[in-house]
């Protein structure tokens, strides 16, 4: 069976929220001789991207998002013994819930999908000050900071990340992805807090981060 066929099979399982079936499928794939790296990059990742596209125009419930992220997590854990095989990294990114925000579920799902897609994810957790997000991004040479907030009041704290990035002259080197329930309800808030982009759900995070990373590559000439 081709990678594409396996991926389509996995997509169907994810849509049915069949967590047990997903693990069984991955076992079957491993038995067929396909390695962990290919499972992540050529089977899981395309399924996630496709899922994101399918749900882009719809209202995706937290429970659907959660099931998909758990399946991705299960697959990643199943493949961890061979994770060293996964040598190609898309690059480092830093994510965290902005200062005063404690709604971690969406951020954790984003972290999982980004990891599944091959990003080197540095997740700083909840209630992270803007300074800390930026310092970590500089330390690990991240091209994207992902700041999450669920409510409008806390989303406005992301403005400080924007300010610090610009103040330090890093506008072209570090892009700011923003996300959380409030951005789906008020898309204009993305620009208001200085975000360079958002994703409607965790599944679509890889597409967003890939776009932002390519903007950094275009803007920063070696």
């Amino acid at each position: 069976m081709s990678y594409q066929n396996w991926s389509e099979k996995l997509l169907k399982i994810m849509m049915n929220a069949d967590r047990v079936g997903a693990v069984a499928l991955i076992d079957e794939v491993l038995t067929s001789g396909i390695g962990s790296r290919q499972i992540i990059t050529d089977i899981l990742d395309p399924a996630i991207v496709q899922l994101g596209r399918m749900w882009e125009q719809e209202s995706m419930s937290l429970s659907q998002n959660f099931v998909a992220s758990k399946i991705a997590e299960d697959i990643l854990l199943r493949c961890i013994p061979d994770k060293s095989e996964h040598t190609h990294s898309k690059g480092a990114v830093v994510i965290g819930n902005i200062e005063d925000d404690f709604h971690s579920l969406g951020r954790k799902a984003v972290g999982l999908f980004l990891t599944a897609a091959g990003w080197d994810v540095h997740d700083l957790g909840n209630d992270v000050p803007a300074e800390e997000l930026l310092e970590k991004a500089i330390e690990v040479n991240a091209c994207v900071i992902g700041a999450s907030a669920m409510m409008q009041t806390t989303a406005l704290n992301i403005r400080k990340v924007r300010h610090l990035i610009d103040e330090r002259g890093l506008t072209d080197r570090i892009k700011l992805a923003v996300g959380g329930a409030v951005f789906n309800w008020r898309p204009d808030l993305v620009a208001e807090v200085g975000g360079d982009g958002t994703a409607h759900n965790a599944v679509s995070a890889d597409e967003l981060f890939t776009r932002l990373e390519s903007e950094v590559r275009r803007e920063v000439k070696p």
């Binding site: 929220a17 967590r19 209202s59 419930s61 937290l62 429970s63 659907q64 959660f66 099931v67 758990k70 005063d100 404690f102 709604h103 971690s104 579920l105 954790k108 209630d127 409510m151 409008q152 009041t153 806390t154 329930a181 409030v182 309800w185 008020r186 808030l189």
Partner: protein, 344 residues
């Protein structure tokens, strides 16, 4: 006609002088009295002073207990994060997994943490406003309550992948829920508003709500001795509205600003009161005139058949919302009732 009569008549489908106007204004009371939010949510006199100031300066058709659920997570042993410009949040749940939550002792509404303060708030509001202004008690829905003990992630994990455990946790928390709801009513609340996130399409699918949570909601509602409103809790609700009529004591449903009001009415039938649909996030950014127009549009759409209360959707109105916008909501309701504003 006073606010109490106006609201009761609306719920009962009787004539009113104008449609009632609500807004979720807990923290806003602290803004008017220059009280920091930690004091507001921890001191019954300070909270009631905020509600009194709101009645004097705005005069909407309700007074309410705090839309603050950290008092419940705190009563179970969780930790609270306090802010200067928004209601408190749960910083850390009492336990980290659903199994451990099954052995958490249930709080006593009369004794544990800040629960007695809210009962005292309700008693004080009743002493001031009984049968003049409706006293609304706010509490989380019974199906989202476990998230206040273990956090939303662990609750979703149980609800999605270990339904037996999820049911045990619902059963474990049910006696507390019923005792808390009835304590609010005994303290003087005229009506309870239960914000049930598990009914929202942003959290759970229709099948999940219908199969796992609706039976629990039905069971709990039969044990609460007073009128209840089911609140959308921030997400869309229309996808399950047709399942709700007939819930014991249900008198109204608060829908989100993204739910279609006309469709909502069709789904719930003519006898339940619809509440809400004004976008909470827009209110601080628009003028009083725009608020008036937005309010009038909602009234025209939903009020002609009665059983409609104009209200913001979601939780507390942002503190940056100008008081003029709240007065514009009232003005729209008054003008609507006398046929003014026809060309808007």
């Amino acid at each position: 006609m006073n606010a109490y009569q106006r609201v009761m008549n609306t719920l009962g489908g009787l004539p009113v002088d104008r449609p009632p106007v609500f807004a979720v204004l807990g923290a806003y009371g602290g803004k008017l009295t220059s009280t920091d939010l930690k004091t507001l949510y921890s001191d019954s006199s300070a909270y009631v002073a905020g509600q009194v100031a709101l009645q004097k300066e705005i005069g909407l058709d309700l007074v309410m207990s705090a839309f603050d659920y950290t008092l419940i997570s705190e009563a179970f042993g969780g930790e609270v994060a306090w802010f200067a410009d928004q209601a408190p949040n749960m910083k850390r749940p009492a336990v980290r997994n659903a199994v451990d939550a099954l052995s958490l002792p249930l709080p006593n509404p009369q004794q544990t943490a800040r629960l007695p303060i809210i009962l005292d708030v309700t008693r004080k509001l009743a002493a001031l406003y009984k049968e003049q202004v409706p006293i609304i008690g706010v509490l989380p829905g019974p199906c989202i309550l476990p998230a206040l003990l273990v956090g939303i992630e662990q609750w979703m994990e149980a609800a999605l992948f270990d339904q037996e455990l999820a049911q045990k946790l619902l059963d474990h928390t049910a006696p507390f829920y019923v005792s808390w709801a009835n304590a609010l009513l005994d303290a003087g609340a005229d009506c309870l508003v239960a914000t049930e996130s598990m009914a929202s399409s942003d959290i759970a699918t229709r099948n999940m709500f219908a199969g796992q949570f609706l039976p629990h909601l039905k069971s709990i509602f039969t044990q609460i001795n007073g009128p209840k409103v089911l609140h959308h809790s921030g997400g869309r609700l229309n996808h399950v509205l047709d399942l709700l009529p007939g819930l014991n004591g249900l008198v109204g449903i608060t829908v989100s600003s993204k739910d279609d009001l006309t469709e909502a009415r069709q789904l719930i039938g003519p006898d339940l009161t619809l509440i809400g649909n004004l976008d909470n996030l827009t209110l601080p950014m628009i003028s009083a005139e725009e608020t008036y127009k937005m309010s009038m549009a909602r009234l025209r759409e939903a009020a002609p058949g009665g059983h409609y209360i104009l209200c913001n959707s979601a939780a507390d109105i942002p503190l940056t919302t100008p008081p003029e916008n709240l007065r514009a909501m009232l003005a729209a309701a008054s003008d609507y009732s006398v046929g003014v504003g026809g060309d808007l």
